[in-house]
């Protein structure tokens, strides 16, 4: 469990960092909080030639809130999100989800960019990104590009990020104050990766029916995903027990969860239905 040998650099600008990544021919890796990368090195599952530490790069650690939504810099940590009182109204779903991430010590170091790049299928932030139609900003040698979350996550620990690109920020679109939402997850112990998790929200149209519903799930597939068929069941209906049950049943039907040491696929499917139901049942506008 000793790390393999590697070189280390701590550039001060994004450009410098990207240049270092590009020069390494894909053998370098960015280092953020190290909470996923360092264990991977210790297990010797990867042996990068160079670690490009992002800690001295200015401007990556801010949380900005404006008309375009919530902008999280790549080096924003879980504890920064928890400590930002504005998010309780600016993005209550994000704030609620982040309380489920790992444990105190890890929340002090783990970052937004690291979590998105690592792309664990059970991680909370990728789930929020998918549920909320977030947009990621990536910077590479040839400049900047925006990628919708939907196109970013490709599979377990696999993303659209090129080896010489950095994530610099993620933007979550603006959050109307009347929006109904719920976040539910279930893990074997508090702070463990979720067996399943649900981030759900919807708006109410003039008739009082659900509109624009979004149901994002984690832990039940090879990546975070939105359950559009379940959303369709909910849209246009009064959100009552029947509508919720129908939505939850659809959700359970369309996911394809894994069978693993922590639970059977059958169980995870049923668990997901429970969580969808609970997320929607407890979904008043919790401003």
């Amino acid at each position: 469990m000793k790390l393999p040998r590697f070189e280390y650099a701590s550039p001060t600008t994004v450009q410098e960092a990207v240049a270092l990544l590009a020069a390494s021919n894909g053998t370098a890796k960015p280092l953020a909080g190290g909470q996923s990368l360092v264990p991977i090195l210790a297990f010797r599952l990867a042996a990068p030639s160079l670690l490009v530490d992002l800690r001295r790069i200015a401007g990556l650690d801010t949380i900005a809130i404006d008309d375009a939504g919530v902008h999280l810099g790549a080096r924003v940590r879980w504890c920064d999100i928890e400590a930002d009182a504005r998010l309780a109204t600016a993005h209550p779903l994000l704030a609620a989800a982040v309380t489920h991430v790992a444990h105190y010590a890890i929340r002090k170091r783990g970052t937004v960019g690291g979590s998105l790049a690592h792309a664990d299928p059970a991680a909370e932030l990728p789930g929020i990104a998918i549920a909320c139609d977030a947009e990621l900003t990536l910077v590479g040698p040839s400049g900047r590009r925006s990628v919708p979350a939907e196109a970013f996550f490709l599979g377990p620990l696999t993303t659209a990020l090129a080896p010489d690109e950095l994530i610099t920020q993620i933007r979550l679109p603006p959050w109307p104050s009347a929006r109904r939402w719920g976040f539910q997850e279930f893990a074997r112990r508090r702070g463990d990766f979720a067996l399943a998790g649900v981030a759900a929200f919807y708006d109410l149209d003039s008739a009082g029916h659900a509109a624009n519903s979004h149901i994002g799930v984690i832990g039940v597939d090879d990546r975070p995903r939105r359950l559009t068929a379940a959303e369709a069941v909910l849209n246009g209906r009064t959100v009552d027990a029947n509508a919720i049950t129908a939505t939850a049943e659809m959700a359970a039907r369309i996911v394809d969860p894994p069978d693993d040491i922590h639970g059977t696929a059958r169980y995870r499917r049923a668990l997901l239905a429970t969580l969808v139901e609970r997320a929607l049942t407890g979904a008043p506008a919790k401003a």
């Binding site: 469990m1 790390l3 393999p4 112990r189 463990d192 059958r266 169980y267 049923a270 668990l271």
Partner: protein, 757 residues
């Protein structure tokens, strides 16, 4: 003024804590010796196969590498690890060689050791060793092992290493006679999952060879340093006097740490081979892969009783999946699970066969309450299934079958081939049951059985247990009066974080009638005493404490003798009080003044009769049908442990053991796939209970029945807390959901599956 017995019985804060909490502990990884090298172990990634090529050339030439050790360097024959307590010639073929020799039999088996300037370089070198293994089909469960589908040891022709037979009365005759419908017979299968003790820090060793003195010192010993020294000396070809094992601080042992492992040979061997100190610190993945595993048993048992619930007989078979080799204490759990199956209950006829089957998994050993946690789960579940079917209240069923005070001492079943005969010493099992029911408010809570309240099903469970402790045959202690008037106490018991230092000080201070501050404890290392037996089987307080009392008597005699000369009176007339010796005519000499006379005394306590603590636990659970989550709403433990030396230390033992038991019941599982690969190689997958998981534990300890078998009246108390937990929780869940769990662990997925078959 100090009076007799003023410390024993007091909730004295652990004297070791201040040092540990201030980071002043001295764990093996804190030690640095000049010129020290670091070792890493190449382990088999194949569960069963023949090594056909092992090429270490590239590793040997990596800069920083000092040596690569394989079976070839160790020479023929490669030593094996013997059974520590009761040698059995039938088991010799199954002993583990200290390094793989021709064949590998589990994933994690050592194949080579690299010694280098740093642990990182050593790990780099591991990647350069080329191993080619011709794979053989693995046996991972007891069924395939019993069918001898693939033989681990071709030379023995079987995977069945041993069968214990436990007999009391004549079970077959009882079953045969039960022909009318006045009788009831129930046959069930249960199983417990492979898991094990997880200590705060992993294992670690430093070997140091002094070529001038031809002396080997090994740091990092625990539990049984004297026994381990004997094994090592023999394997490495040195007299015992040329080998010392040194015990430092240890963050928990639980029966797992301190047994003799391959590394306990390999690291000292490397140090001698290179004539340099060599350190090896196990990493957590290695730990989960290589430390003694435990608890993987399945059973097929039949119970015969009258329709009123009076048990008449139990018979059947228990299979132990003991892993690839018979390690130093592999026989304990398979023996206990059968021998103590009856627990505190009167089962007049017993016939249980308990097998030890070798499989291509990590070898097994003892874990707190070995065989007892598992056997209690089987028994208590079986009882509830039977009681439920007969319409008998689970409490009434137990009450009817508990051994009463008047039946003491009560004989347990005899087990062969060891021919061990045990008897329950004393106690009132019904009283602890009643106290448990009262503290728990059973009558009220039992009304919750099966009720759905705010979306969760509620249920209660109860179970009774015994804990065998005070394992003999003897223990030693030595006391030395130091020049400052303090008393150095050397004990053969090992200290593994259980608070024993404090307990020994209390006992010594009371025995000598001096303030605690005057006592200093030295423990565990082979440099202090000629022999010691160590810490296992809940024996340290009972045996080590009693040896201290004997040593104190002898030291007092020595002090009186020396004082009599000075005081000019008869030895018998010298009165010892508060560190002073007085003559009848009032003359006084301080112990400090006598210290120049080199006063010392040895003490030994012999005992071949175990102590039996006992008690009852009850649990109230709430089950969420949507997630399978089980909350332990309330947990009550009542135990009688004989004389309580330190109620605070005891409470820590009981609460800690219960939490460990809840981990065993809900979380911990060393999962293998069908190809013999361990899937839970980190603490992210091998889940341990944490401080926030089980907050509602209420413990009531009592000392109504001191043991008649030792001068303290103490009984073993380190294991009782864990023994009944699995059965009690499983029965509480059954009461909540109406389905009896028959396997552990009760993960959310498994509980949900029970509710949704």
């Amino acid at each position: 003024m100090n009076v007799v017995n003023s410390y024993v019985g007091q909730p004295i804060e652990r004297i070791e804590d201040l040092r540990l909490l201030r980071g002043r502990g001295q764990f093996v990884d804190d030690l640095h010796l000049d010129g020290m090298l670091h070792a890493a172990v190449l382990r088999s990634s194949i569960p069963h196969g023949r090594i056909i090529r092992l090429d270490t050339t590239a590793a040997r030439v990596l800069p920083g590498v000092a040596a690569v050790i394989t079976a070839a360097e160790i020479g023929d024959p490669v030593p094996t690890i013997p059974l520590r307590l009761v040698p059995m010639s039938d088991l010799v073929p199954y002993e583990q060689p200290v390094i793989a020799n021709g064949k590998v039999r589990y994933v994690g088996e050592p194949i080579a050791v690299v010694v280098a300037e740093s642990a990182a370089i050593a790990e780099d070198a591991l990647e350069l060793i080329a191993v080619e293994i011709e794979t053989l089909p693995p046996c991972v469960d007891t069924r395939s092992a019993a069918a001898n589908q693939s033989l681990l040891f071709e030379e023995t022709g079987t995977n069945l290493a041993l069968t214990y037979t436990t007999v009391l009365g004549d079970a077959d005759a009882a079953f045969a006679a039960a022909t009318t419908d006045e009788y009831y017979i129930r046959r069930e299968r249960f199983d417990t999952q492979r898991h094990t003790a997880t200590t705060m820090e992993t294992r670690g060793l430093i070997g140091a060879w002094d070529s001038e003195r031809q002396h080997l010192t090994v740091y990092g010993a625990a539990k049984v340093p004297f026994a381990s020294r004997g094994m090592l000396a023999k394997q490495i070809g040195l007299p015992e006097s040329a080998v010392d094992l040194i015990e430092g601080d240890v963050g928990g042992g639980f029966g797992m740490r301190g047994e003799f492992y391959p590394e306990d040979f390999l690291i000292p061997f490397a140090a001698r081979h290179l004539d340099r100190p060599v350190k090896w610190i196990e990493d957590r993945r290695e730990h989960l892969l290589t430390c003694n595993h435990a608890r993987e048993f399945d059973c097929d048992l039949e119970l015969l009783c009258r329709r009123d619930g009076t048990i008449l007989a139990v018979r059947g078979r228990i299979n132990g999946n003991i892993g690839a080799y018979i390690r130093s204490n592999a026989t304990i759990a398979p023996r206990n699970i059968a021998q103590f199956f009856s627990g505190p209950y009167r089962i007049p006829n017993i016939h249980i066969e308990s097998t030890m089957l070798v499989t291509n998994k990590t070898p097994t050993g003892t874990y707190r309450g070995p065989g007892r946690f598992e056997g209690d789960f089987f028994r208590e579940c079986l009882f509830d299934v039977v009681a439920d079917d007969l319409g008998i209240d689970p409490v009434a069923f137990r009450r009817r079958n508990l051994i009463t005070r008047d039946e003491m001492p009560a004989k347990l079943a005899t087990i062969t081939p060891v021919r061990q005969q045990e008897e329950l010493d004393c106690g009132d099992y019904l009283q602890t049951l009643d106290r448990c029911l009262a503290e728990f408010h059973w009558v009220d809570k039992a009304k919750l059985k099966g009720r759905l309240i705010e979306g969760r099903y509620h249920g209660v469970g109860i179970g009774c247990f015994i804990e065998g402790g005070g394992v003999g045959p003897r223990e030693n202690a030595r006391m030395v009066l130091e020049s400052d008037g303090s008393i150095a106490v050397y004990v053969g018991s090992a200290i593994v974080g259980q608070g024993l230092e404090t307990v020994c000080v209390q006992i010594a201070a009371d025995a000598l009638e001096v303030p605690m501050e005057r006592i200093r404890i030295f423990h565990g290392s082979t440099t202090y005493l000629h022999a010691g037996f160590g810490s296992f089987g809940s024996r340290s307080t009972v045996m080590g404490g009693s040896a201290i009392i004997d040593a104190a008597e002898n030291l007092k005699k020595a002090i009186r003798t020396a004082a009599a000369l000075r005081l000019n009176c008869a030895v018998d007339d010298v009165l010892l009080e508060a560190g002073m010796a007085k003559s009848p005519d009032g003359n006084v000499v301080g112990w400090t003044d006598l210290a120049s006379e080199n006063l010392r005394a040895d003490g030994t306590f012999f005992c071949d009769r175990r102590t039996y603590g006992y008690g009852a636990h009850a649990a109230h659970v709430a089950v969420d049908p949507g997630t399978g989550h089980v909350e332990v709403v309330d947990y009550v433990a009542v135990g009688d442990v004989g004389r309580i030396i330190n109620p605070m230390a005891l409470r820590g033992q009981i609460v800690g053991a219960i939490v460990q038991g809840l981990g065993s019941t809900f979380l911990e599982h060393l999962v293998y796939d069908e190809d013999g690969q361990l899937l839970t190689g980190s603490l992210a997958d091998y889940l341990l209970p944490t401080a926030i998981d089980y907050p509602n534990i209420r413990v009531f300890d009592q000392e109504e029945y001191p043991s008649p078998n030792n001068p303290l009246g103490a009984k073993g108390a380190g294991e009782g807390g864990i023994i009944p937990v699995g059965g009690v929780i499983a029965n509480a869940i059954a009461s909540a959901i109406g389905v009896q769990p028959k396997s552990l662990p009760l993960s959310p997925s498994r509980v949900w599956e029970l509710m949704n078959p």
